[in-house]
């Protein structure tokens, strides 16, 4: 067994070991814990359908992250763009009442526009002011969170005016359930379609190629006649649009109305999803399912074993670090041979 494989094996082992240590710290048996996690998420339709439900927005948001990261743009604002899209889509929904089966596509389009606008602002700040998009997008997340808090207590609040949540969107805009016994909805098709479309688009179009080039070197891009600034803005528009779509789909398929914290944790997880897929759209649905397993599984662990839910973040953080370590070890190995 080569030294490389050995080191990568050690990394994998540590990735499994560290969360297990925390499980033991909480006084539970790690083996039983893994059993419950996998048993629920993969062994029961209840669990697996929930995994898929979680994987839908993770896929869409992850695609948005991948588009940006491929161009060397660190868009960490997925959660904010998701909220922006959801808010715009819900706000526009009363206008779409009588439009028959145009209504749903227009609703989703509104979501994409909202997200794209949010992404576009970041693109403008970056190209015009050289503002660091990492911090700007993160801060914008908090701004949009407040925006959500406001609209569900103000302009978009439900007619009764009691609870902090919006009105329900029209029936024509709801994404139908695929299976009456679960929460799995037609947004699944949207997510899969998006992944396919983006895989083709990013690998076969001049735009996608240009994005790959500027992600590696702005100087080579200029030599080839590509204008980095233009692609950065377009990339952020697309990235934001995908995030907005994720928000619109999540409302149309799961919540049917805007609520506090409906998007909790999606933003950071989507980054992990995109990174683990190597920024490849075709692989993102699969890593989305993996992180869906972590998320839903942690919920089950809390219900059945009283393991605190934040364990899911420990797992995700360790997984990302293990992934980074494995890649670094691979690169070192490549340099020496």
């Amino acid at each position: 067994m080569s030294g490389l494989a050995l080191r990568q094996g050690a990394i994998l082992a540590l990735a499994l070991l560290v969360p297990s240590l925390f499980v033991m710290l909480a006084g539970k048996d790690p083996v039983a814990t893994w059993g419950v996690l996998l048993g629920y998420t993969l062994g029961s339709w209840d669990g697996f359908s929930d995994v898929l439900v979680r994987a839908i927005p993770l896929t869409l948001l992850g695609l948005g992250v991948a588009v940006a990261f491929r161009g060397g743009i660190f868009n960490i604002g997925g959660e904010g763009q998701l909220i922006a899209g959801a808010v715009l889509a819900v706000a526009a929904s009363p206008l779409l009442q009588g439009l028959g089966w145009f209504a749903l596509p227009l609703y989703l389009l509104a979501g994409m526009l909202g997200g794209a606008a949010a992404g576009g602002v970041v693109g403008w700040l970056r190209t015009r002011y050289s503002a660091n998009e990492i911090i700007v997008t993160i801060l914008m997340n908090y701004v949009f969170l407040q925006l959500l808090t406001w609209v569900i207590r103000g302009p978009l609040q439900e007619p009764m005016g009691f609870l902090p949540r919006s009105f329900v969107i029209g029936d024509g805009l709801k994404l139908g359930l695929l299976d009456a016994g679960s929460r799995l909805h037609a947004g699944l098709f949207v997510a899969v379609a998006a992944a396919v479309v983006l895989q083709v688009f990013l690998t076969r179009s001049a735009f996608g190629f240009g994005l790959d080039v500027i992600g590696r070197s702005a100087e080579v891009a200029r030599y080839a006649g590509i204008r980095p600034a233009r692609l950065v803005v377009l990339g952020l528009l697309l990235s934001g649009a995908l995030g907005g779509l994720a928000g619109a789909v999540e409302i149309a398929g799961v919540f049917h109305r805007l609520e506090d914290n409906f998007a909790a944790g999606l933003g950071l997880s989507a980054i992990a999803v995109a990174l683990m897929a190597g920024l490849r759209p075709a692989l993102i649905p699969f890593t989305a399912i993996l992180f869906g397993i972590f998320h839903v599984g942690s919920g089950a662990l809390q219900r059945q074993l009283s393991l605190p839910f934040p364990l899911v973040w420990i797992v995700q953080g360790v997984v990302i670090l293990a992934f980074l370590a494995a890649r670094a070890v691979q690169a070192q190995h490549g340099r020496r041979t």
């Binding site: 179009s205 735009f207 190629f209 590696r216 100087e219 080579v220 030599y223 080839a224 006649g225 590509i226």
Partner: protein, 504 residues
């Protein structure tokens, strides 16, 4: 006869493909200013790197004050008494002069930076050398000449017996040069041995007591400056072999590129290009020569569309209607301008992409391989594979990452890619730099073929042999101004060397 302060004895150093130093021997006496003269690639840099402890020699010995010196690392070299002033300063622009001097202190001071001690030492040196030093000034805000003075004081802080300066006048304005020569004279008067590495004859003759000339890694001449004429030195530097021109004469066609009064300013306001005008025609190769730093790289970047000039016009007459004025890269490529970039790895290719993808890179504009915005990867792979065969490029197939290819094969791929569409204007910047002899011959043959097929070629090169082998006309850039272009037949290597190595 006293022991020389520095004795280089039979030093040789080989790099893959080239013998950079070939049994070089020279001596330096105390209080003497020795000039090291030679073209780019003559071996000056390698010898200097050996003395500075950055590179180790394959053979030979170096003695300081009669004792063999251990020059394993830059620290050892400094300990042996050799101080270096590099061409590219090792100063940190955002920090003050005092901080930079403190950084150069070899004595590991205490916790605090002893500003007082640094100030005293610097003031003493400044007095002796009759320069002015503002300790609190930020290095970024100083003129280049002043920065160089800081670099010199920094190098002197270790009290070296020998000070080596690498192309110190390359970045100085004419009035600053006199100041530098005075400084060096005073330094020598104190007993320090000074080695001045330069390509500029004027400087060597103004400043040095003796000179050693390097060519192709060997010492081809030396002597007291007083006893040598300028022409003797030029002959030693460039040699006087006549390279037979073995190519068919070509009749130049219509103009493809017309540059008028081009101007480019540097950040500090001085002109990098000071009103350059020339034309390149079809069926002709025009060579642009000059020593690094005289503005020719920038000129090429502007003509290739990668940089905007501050003044002047550039007209292109390529495929389709004429293009007036400076253009962007996308437009130029669309109309048929090829650019073989000077710095391949920084500009022209992406190492971790496949050969086919690198082929695709410059086909985005003119959209040849990306009609309607969709990549035609199959066609790119086909063209690339054909090129691998045609150009004898050693690669398994078009899918391997470009970084797996040797430098020579990478350059061949770039050439194949750029010349593929038979572009009417080819801009080739140092196309054979760093390549082995066989590849050089191949590249040169390709450029001649392109010219025979009807292209106009602007060739940027520092190699006079290459100029005589390829060019129909030649122009020389010196301090931002152009000499020529003149037909190659109506001038001599001597004349070109003359233009390259000194003021007008």
């Amino acid at each position: 006869m006293s022991t020389p302060l520095l004795a280089v004895d039979g030093v040789s150093r080989r790099f893959p493909g080239v013998l950079a130093n070939d049994e070089v021997s020279l001596t330096l006496q105390r209080g003497e200013v020795l000039g090291l003269l030679g073209e780019n690639g003559a071996g000056k840099s390698t010898l200097m790197n050996i003395l500075a402890g950055i590179v180790s020699p394959d053979a030979g010995e170096i003695r300081v004050d009669g004792r063999v010196a251990d020059l394993r690392t830059p620290r050892h070299a400094a300990a042996a008494g050799i101080g270096m002033v590099h061409q590219h300063f090792t100063l940190i622009g955002a920090m003050s002069v005092c901080d930079n001097l403190a950084l150069g202190e070899r004595r590991v001071g205490g916790f605090l930076v002893d500003r007082g001690a640094i100030a005293r030492r610097a003031a003493a040196l400044a007095r002796e050398l009759r320069i002015e030093l503002d300790l609190d000034a930020q290095v970024d805000a100083l003129s280049v000449g002043q920065q160089q003075q800081v670099e010199i004081v920094k190098a002197l802080s270790g009290d070296p017996a020998i000070l080596i300066l690498d192309e110190p006048t390359a970045v100085l304005a004419p009035e600053e040069r006199a100041g530098l020569f005075d400084l060096l004279a005073r330094l020598a008067a104190k007993g320090t041995g000074v080695v001045l590495i330069s390509h500029r004859l004027e400087d060597i003759m103004a400043c040095c007591d003796r000179v050693v000339v390097l060519r192709h890694g060997r010492v081809v001449g030396s002597g007291a400056v007083a006893g040598l004429a300028r022409d003797d030195l030029i002959r030693m530097v460039i040699g006087d072999e006549i390279v037979p021109v073995e190519r068919a004469p070509a009749v130049p066609g219509e103009a493809v590129l017309s540059v008028q009064d081009l101007v480019l300013h540097r950040a500090n306001g001085t002109p990098a290009i000071d009103g350059a005008s020339f034309t390149v025609h079809r069926h002709e190769i025009v060579a642009l020569c000059g020593v690094e730093g005289n503005g020719q790289s920038e000129l090429v970047q502007i003509v290739a569309g990668m940089q905007s000039p501050d003044g002047g016009t550039i007209d292109y007459r390529l495929r389709g209607s004429p293009l007036i004025g400076p253009q962007g890269v996308a437009t130029l490529r669309q109309h048929g301008v090829a650019h073989i970039a000077e710095d391949r790895l920084r500009h022209a290719v992406l190492g971790d992409l496949s050969l086919a993808d690198n082929w695709l890179l410059t086909a985005l504009f003119p959209r040849a391989l990306a009609p309607h915005g969709w990549l035609d990867r199959a066609e790119a792979a086909r063209q690339c594979t054909a090129a691998l065969r045609q150009f004898d490029i050693k690669a398994r197939d078009a899918m391997v990452p470009l970084a797996h290819l040797s430098g020579g094969n990478q350059q061949k791929l770039v050439l194949a890619r750029e010349l593929h569409d038979e572009p009417p204007l080819v801009i080739a910047a140092h196309p054979t730099r760093g390549l082995d002899a066989r590849t050089i011959a191949f590249v040169q043959g390709q450029l001649l073929q392109a010219r025979d097929r009807g292209a106009g070629v602007l060739l940027l090169t520092a190699d006079l042999d290459e100029v005589w082998a390829l060019a129909d006309r030649v122009m020389v850039m010196s301090a931002g101004r152009l000499h020529g272009p003149v037909p190659v037949g109506s001038t001599s290597r001597h004349q070109v060397g003359h233009w390259m190595t000194g003021p007008r």
